[in-house]
Symmetry: C2
Subunit: 280 residues, 2 copies
C-alpha cells in the first residue's frame, strides 16, 4: 500500500499480564508482546502476510507486567476513529494483552527513542500468604522497616552508575546489546517507598509496600535488583547506607537477590510535556 | 486420637482465587475449597486417611473469590502455636488457596451457624480492556452513572424478600437444599456503591466501581444478580426505582443479567462482637 509511506504513526498504550509472555521483545519461537501486537496490526492492515513492525518503549522480562507500555507503529488504518481502532486491535489480541488507548501522532514518533522517562512500580506483600495477589506481588514473611527502606530508596535519586544493579537473576544474562554510549549511568528522578491499602480484601495482618521509581532509562533487571536490595535493608540485614556502597562499587556481585518478576509493572512511559506526577 | 473428642475448635480465615475451583462446597469429582482444606488438615492430623471435616461460613460458586472466608474444624494440632499452624497448613495447599490466620476457639464454634453477617464486594471496570484485572472485575465498555447506582444500591437495605435475585445464570440452578425457614427473606445492613482508585496501573480512561454489600445471609447468586441489575441501572436502561419493583415482584424472571463470577469476592464473615466497619 503506497499511501502507507506517507501515513502518520500510532502511539499505542498497551497493558499486559506478563505471566503468559517470554518478555516484551520478539524472540524466535517464543510468545512475546511485540510479536502479538505485530500480528494483530498485520491482520488489521490487511496486507497479505506482511508484518507491521512495532517498537516498544520499554523492554520487559518474562513475567513482568505492563499497565502503560507504549508502542509505536505506522498508522495502518487511517479510516478508523481512534476508539474504534482500539476495539479492532483488541479483537485480535488474547485477553492477557490489550491496547488501552490509541493516539495518532507525527510519523516520526518513535516509542523508544522519544521516551523521556519510564516509571516502574514493584510491589511487596509482607504477611501471610495471599492467593489473590500471588501473581502481582513478591510475597515475603516477616515485617519490613518502611522508614529504613524509604531512606534507602531516596539514595538512588540522581545521576549514578547503576552497574551493581544490572543483570543477574535466573535465565538471560545481561545482554551486551543493551550497552550504549551511556554505559551503566542513568538518572533517577523519583524513587520512593509507599505503603498501599490492600485492594484484594480484608487483610489485617501484613503490609503492602510499593517501590515507585522513575528514571530516564533502566538497565536490565535494574528495578528487580533494587527491590532485592531494598528488602534486605527492610529486613535489617543491611543498613540503608549499603545503597551508597553498591552505587560506588559498580559490581553486580556486591548486590543481593534479584526480586521475582511478578511484583514488577511497567507503569507509564513519559514523552515531551508529560510529567510523572500527572494522574498519580 | 481420643484426645480429639475433647479438643477445641479452629477458626480459619481462608483466602482463595476462585478461578481454579468448582466452588467452595465439596462436590464429587470436582476440585473444591472444602475438599482442599479437608485434605490439608487430614495430612497434618496424621490419622491414616481419616478425613477431618471442615465447615465453611459462606458458599461461593465456581470462579468466585474469597479474601476472608471462614472455616471451622476440630483442633487437629493443639501442639502447634497458631502462627506455626498457619504455615503448616499452607505448606499442604496449592498457591491459589491459603489460610490467612488461625484462631483457637470454643469447641462449639460453627463457622456457618454462628456467622452474624457476610460481606461481599463486586467490582466493575467500565473502560478499555484491562488485562491486569480481567480475573478480578466485570469489564464493561461505556460509562455508568454512579449516583443512580448508589441510589439503587441503597434501596436494597433492610429486611426484604430477595426472590427476584435468587438463582439463575449459567450452570447450577438454585438448589432446593438452600431453602430454609427464612425462605427468600434476608436483611441487608450495608449496600453501597463506591468508586475505587485503579490499583493496577495508570488508567486515566475508565472507572472502577465497587458494590459493597453486608447481610445476615445471601441467596444463591444474589450478589451477582444484584450486580447485573445495578449495571442495567447505571447504563440508564432502568431507573433506580426498578429495584423496588424487583423486590416487590419476587420473581427471578423480572431481574436481568447474572454478573460473571470473577468480579465477586467474599470479603469477610462477622461473628458475635464483629462489626462490618472494622478495618474498612
Amino acid at each position: 500500500m503506497t499511501e502507507r509511506a506517507n501515513a502518520g504513526a500510532l502511539k499505542l498504550v498497551v497493558s499486559y499480564d506478563g505471566a503468559g509472555f517470554a518478555g516484551s521483545q520478539r524472540q524466535l519461537g517464543q510468545r512475546t508482546v511485540q510479536e502479538e501486537l505485530e500480528r494483530a496490526l498485520s491482520i488489521l492492515a490487511g496486507d497479505s502476510g506482511q508484518r507491521v513492525p512495532v517498537v516498544l518503549a520499554g523492554r520487559t522480562d518474562a513475567g513482568v507486567h505492563a499497565a502503560g507500555q507504549v508502542a509505536s507503529a505506522t498508522d495502518i488504518r487511517p479510516d478508523l476513529a481512534e476508539a474504534r481502532l482500539v476495539r479492532a486491535i483488541n479483537a485480535q489480541l488474547e485477553p492477557d494483552c490489550a491496547v488501552v488507548s490509541v493516539e495518532r501522532v507525527d510519523a516520526k514518533f518513535h516509542a523508544r527513542f522519544d521516551a523521556k522517562w519510564r516509571e516502574y512500580r514493584f510491589r511487596i506483600w509482607s504477611g501471610a500468604a495471599q492467593p489473590l495477589v500471588r501473581d502481582r506481588t513478591w510475597q515475603r514473611r516477616g515485617s519490613l522497616d518502611l522508614d529504613t527502606m524509604s531512606d534507602a530508596a531516596a539514595r538512588l535519586i540522581g545521576r549514578h552508575d547503576f552497574a551493581s544493579f544490572a543483570g543477574g537473576g535466573e535465565g538471560m544474562p545481561w545482554s551486551p546489546r543493551q550497552s550504549t554510549e551511556r554505559g551503566t549511568i542513568r538518572t533517577v528522578m523519583i524513587s520512593e517507598i509507599r505503603q498501599l491499602a490492600p485492594w484484594w480484601g480484608y487483610a489485617p495482618d501484613g503490609t503492602l509496600i510499593e517501590h515507585r521509581i522513575v528514571a530516564d532509562g533502566f538497565l536490565p533487571r535494574m528495578v528487580r535488583n533494587i527491590a532485592g536490595a531494598l528488602v534486605s535493608i527492610g529486613q535489617g540485614r543491611q543498613a540503608s547506607e549499603w545503597i551508597d556502597a553498591l552505587l560506588e562499587g559498580r559490581n553486580r556481585a556486591l548486590a543481593g537477590e534479584t526480586a521475582p518478576p511478578q511484583g514488577l509493572t511497567l507503569w507509564r512511559v513519559g514523552y515531551e510535556n508529560d510529567s510523572p506526577d500527572d494522574g498519580v
